[in-house]
Symmetry: C2
DNA sequence: CCTTGCTAATTATCCTGGCTAAGGAATGGC
DNA sequence: GCCATTCCTTAGCCAGGATAATTAGCAAGG
């Protein structure tokens, strides 16, 4: 939808967008920090595994695209994950240029544990809110998800 | 927080927290990507300038604390910013161990331009929402800020 | 004083995580 | 069979974190 810009839209004057942007950026950063350093698995690695969990299995290129990074970066990340036994890399037999990456059981299990752990911080924070605030947040959640758009 | 599950508390069962966490993490990441590489100034540098803008002026240590990074990292960031003419570093005359860092006019001006630019992505996204959704988002904003807590 | 101890910043070094550029292997069209 | 294309990897760059160790300045106490 083009900038319909019935500008009036007082809902989001520049200042609010700025505040929202800063709040989101900081929260994202905070969450990333909190989730970091679990068992020597880095945030990028966890993120890659999460994508893999969603995708089921994927070629290295697909995975890179999902993570919005370039293939070489993903090569490195996957290499480490493989070392750790969290994913398996197998050459696709129908097209031997491709590498199929899959979560191993260990990877899956790690991902689950990791999620719980990463939720903890936010859970605590949310618990400090009043019920009304929590309700408001719950209402806003779908919108936040919508902001992410259809891309992935 | 145990699943208290008294009616009211349905707002944030584990799944919602997970969804929220993922949405926030992704949005944060997306924003970071979008805001990147403006004029060769990196996200960390912009962020440091933003803190500086808020704080007015600060010692290097205060700045590092505000950005939640270690002093050595801030030393480097500030060094680059100084090279670029965005901040000035002066030794505090009352305590010559301290370095006072301040935004230069150029830094201020850059920050303003940068904000506008970095807002653009989010502004577009928000514009795609219905007025109701925008209103909801505006209501949720203070709560998101509260999630960040008193820390900074 | 001047020594002892603390604090602020810096320097040195390491690792991760992006990137691009360039190379190698497999595919597929012709 | 050759050529272009595609997918991955390797090599090398730079930023951004970190820690450990060093230097400079301050503040007391003997």
């Amino acid at each position: 939808m083009a900038p319909k810009a019935t500008a009036a839209t007082k809902p989001a004057p520049a200042t609010d967008v700025t505040r929202l942007r800063m709040a989101l950026a900081r929260l994202g950063r905070r969450l990333r920090q909190e989730g970091t350093a679990i068992d020597d698995v880095t945030p990028s690695q966890v993120s890659a595994m999460a994508s893999l969990d969603q995708l089921g299995a994927a070629t290295l290129g697909e995975l890179a695209a999902a993570e919005r990074i370039q293939p070489p970066s993903m090569t490195r990340i996957v290499a480490r994950l493989e070392e750790g036994g969290f994913v398996s890399r197998t050459v696709d037999q129908t097209d031997r240029r491709c590498v199929r990456v899959e979560l191993t059981p260990a990877g899956s299990e790690f991902l689950t544990r990791s999620r719980t752990r990463r939720d903890a911080y936010l859970t605590d924070r949310v618990a400090d809110l009043s019920p009304d605030e929590q309700a408001l947040l719950a209402d806003a959640l779908p919108i936040l998800e919508q902001l992410l758009g259809e891309e992935r």
